[in-house]
């Protein structure tokens, strides 16, 4: 048994030597995703990733899915390290729990690209690059959409805005809020942000938060929400209370927001495509392997979408 194993090893080692010569431009890239199938964003992401890899002759990919389980994701990282892939892309199930596994890959000399949502700062030393959306830009662009709309309506000097943020403590929620709050006074210095409350990414919770806002403030001209899911929750509250003329803007466009925009109830959002997300991740990994100078935070573009230009975009799949 042992002898045959050794012989097999020797053979395969010899084969590695020759195959490396034959195809020295081919990269093997492994990806371990968070939880494919739990929402359409991740499902579309996976399809787009595989399609992008197939379109590229120089890349072979190992596509894995952790099913939301940290233990399985760590095991998949170990497997990819063991298989000696050239680079690993990880969509973290938990931004901190995967740090030791990422360090292991780094110690094995395999560059790691984090995709979609970044790992915690303690792991930055072990990561080649982060590829994903820039939440700060998403927030500041939302502020611009909001401000432009107020200017159109001629209320840019008196408008009052409320904000519904994502789950407290989440980087995404904090950055989207910071981006908005920093940018708004720059473009519309006279617009007042009267209050900000968390909606926890939850539509019902946001509806309740908005109900409270409507009771508390007689005059609300704009609502900024951390994503369209929460924005539509707020919209429902306003509709139920019979309050018109409020400009709703979200920081990420969801199908519900897109539909509400089509009906003329919801003003605008930021378009984040899972296809762009997936292609950017693969591109980043290839660039890293090519030895190109890749910025540590490698963002892909997330354009503005409003009622005016929404027909340029497909309805989001999520």
């Amino acid at each position: 048994m042992n002898k045959t194993l050794k012989a097999a090893l020797a053979c395969s080692t010899a084969m590695i030597g020759t195959s490396a010569l034959a195809q020295d431009d081919t990269y093997t890239i492994g990806i371990t995703q968070n939880n494919v199938g739990v929402d359409s964003y991740q499902t579309t992401y996976e399809q787009a990733f595989i399609a992008a890899a197939e379109a590229n002759d120089n890349v072979e990919v190992v596509v894995l899915d952790a099913g939301g389980d940290v233990a399985r994701q760590i095991a998949q990282m170990e497997d990819l390290i063991q298989q000696e892939v050239d680079a690993i892309i990880i969509w973290p199930t938990n931004g901190e729990a995967v740090i030791p596994a990422v360090r292991k890959a780094d110690q094995a000399g395999i560059p790691v690209v984090v995709t979609n949502s970044n790992i915690a700062e303690a792991g930055f030393d072990f990561v080649a690059s982060f590829s994903g959306p820039d939440n700060i830009t998403q927030g500041s662009r939302s502020a611009e959409i909001m401000c432009d709309r107020f200017k159109e309506l001629g209320i840019a000097d008196e408008a009052r805005v409320v904000e519904i943020t994502g789950q407290p403590g989440y980087t995404t929620a904090i950055e989207r809020s910071d981006g908005f709050q920093d940018r708004l006074p720059e473009v519309c210095p006279n617009v007042e942000l009267v209050e900000s409350q968390p909606g926890d990414w939850n539509r019902e919770k946001s509806q309740q938060v908005m109900e409270a806002f409507l009771v508390k403030y007689d005059d609300i001209d704009g609502v900024y929400a951390g994503d369209d899911n929460m924005g539509v929750g707020a919209l429902n509250a306003a509709k139920a209370a019979g309050r018109d003329g409020i400009t709703f803007v979200g920081a990420t466009n969801f199908a519900v927001g897109y539909e509400a925009m089509g009906e003329g109830d919801y003003w605008g959002s930021i378009y984040q495509s899972p296809v762009d997300d997936a292609e950017a991740a693969l591109r980043t990994a290839i660039d890293v392997l090519d030895g190109e100078d890749v910025p540590f935070l490698n963002y892909f573009d997330t354009p503005k979408i409003t009622q005016d230009n929404m027909d340029e975009f497909d309805k989001p799949v999520f």
């Binding site: 084969m15 093997t28 063991q82 740090i99 030791p100 915690a120």
Partner: protein
């Protein structure tokens, strides 16, 4: 007697035969389908396999005893998460931080204690109320998970300690820390089940509870002890795993109870109790992890693993029924 032994061997050998089959299949298929050049049967890969089997494996070994009793414990996943939270959170308490690295063994102690207490709650309710363990642990599964969410809401609980990580990643004689724990637990439980009165009682109770009571076995305390044991093991599994990862999501450990039960059943333990083996459960755990690893290795969709395991599980139960039918009929006549 001889046929009985042969049947036992056949049943206990089946899972290892299946593992050999998997190894052969993935080694051969891997040559054609895998994009990597490393062999599946690579020695390091097999060491990894053992390590990756540990989180569910340690729980499944305890589950074997519970199931030999004729009980079941659905709350192990929640216990796993709660113990992990206690371990990681306790290290951030001020007096613990003052202790430096000595806080680590203390935090382990807290986590293990949590597991034992949660297990004791299950055991006491089963003992004192006589309600079926399935119902009791279904309730505590929801209840314990509620506690997990109460502790820190939807947020992950994190404490990254590199000393801890280095310990968990260490390899002694080639085996990872987690593998040592898995093998040690397997050895101890195997000794308990085959060499002690407690082990013999476990089989007796599972086989025929009334007869066991008549024979003077104190069934209630026996159950309590076993539920404390599985609580301890669920916590131990959390200690081993989270020492390495340092952060727990509130929904971690969900479905672990089902994977553990699957591994136990794959290993040939009877759902009705009275029959089962620790070593075969170890085989069941390895078989599942091997399947996950192998399907990843040959580039199959990771989710196919659920389908395949489901099919195999049904096949195992069918086989088990065929093997047992003859014996039962003999008993009736």
């Amino acid at each position: 007697m001889f046929t009985e032994r042969r049947k036992d061997l056949l049943k206990q050998g089946a899972i290892w035969g299946f593992i050999v089959l998997e190894l052969a299949f993935f080694s051969i298929a891997g040559n054609y389908l895998s994009v990597t050049d490393t062999a599946f049967m690579d020695f390091d890969n097999m060491l990894l396999l053992l390590k990756q089997s540990a989180p569910i494996g340690i729980i499944a070994l305890g589950m074997t005893i519970i199931m030999i009793n004729g009980n079941i414990d659905l709350s192990v996943g929640a216990t796993f998460a709660l113990a992990a939270i206690v371990m990681l959170d306790s290290m951030t308490w001020p007096f613990m931080q003052a202790l430096g690295d000595w806080a680590i063994p203390l935090a382990w102690g807290f986590a293990l204690l949590t597991g034992v207490v949660l297990g004791a709650i299950n055991g006491l309710i089963v003992w004192k109320t006589g309600v079926d363990a399935f119902i009791v642990t279904l309730g505590s599964m929801l209840g314990f998970r509620g506690l997990v969410f109460m502790y820190n809401g939807e947020q992950p609980t994190s404490h990254l300690n590199w000393t801890l990580v280095d310990f968990a990643e260490a390899q002694f004689l080639g085996l990872h820390t987690a593998s040592w724990f898995l093998l040690a637990v397997a050895l101890i439980l195997w000794l308990v089940m085959t060499r002690t009165v407690h082990g013999r009682n476990a089989y007796a109770i599972g086989n025929n509870r009334d007869a066991a009571v008549n024979a003077g076995i104190r069934v209630g305390p026996h159950f309590l002890l076993n539920f404390m044991l599985i609580g301890f093991l669920a916590a131990l599994s959390a200690v081993v795993f989270y020492s390495e990862s340092g952060s727990v999501n509130p929904n971690d450990g969900m479905l672990y109870e089902l994977w553990a039960i699957t591994a136990v059943v794959l290993g040939g333990t009877k759902l009705a109790g009275g029959y089962g083996s620790i070593v075969s459960t170890l085989g069941g755990v390895i078989a599942i992890q091997l399947l996950r690893k192998g399907l990843g290795h040959i580039g199959a969709d990771t989710e196919t693993v659920n389908l395949v395991i489901g099919l195999i599980l049904i096949a195992v139960l069918f086989l088990d029924r065929q093997l047992n039918r003859k014996g039962k009929e003999e008993l009736k006549t």
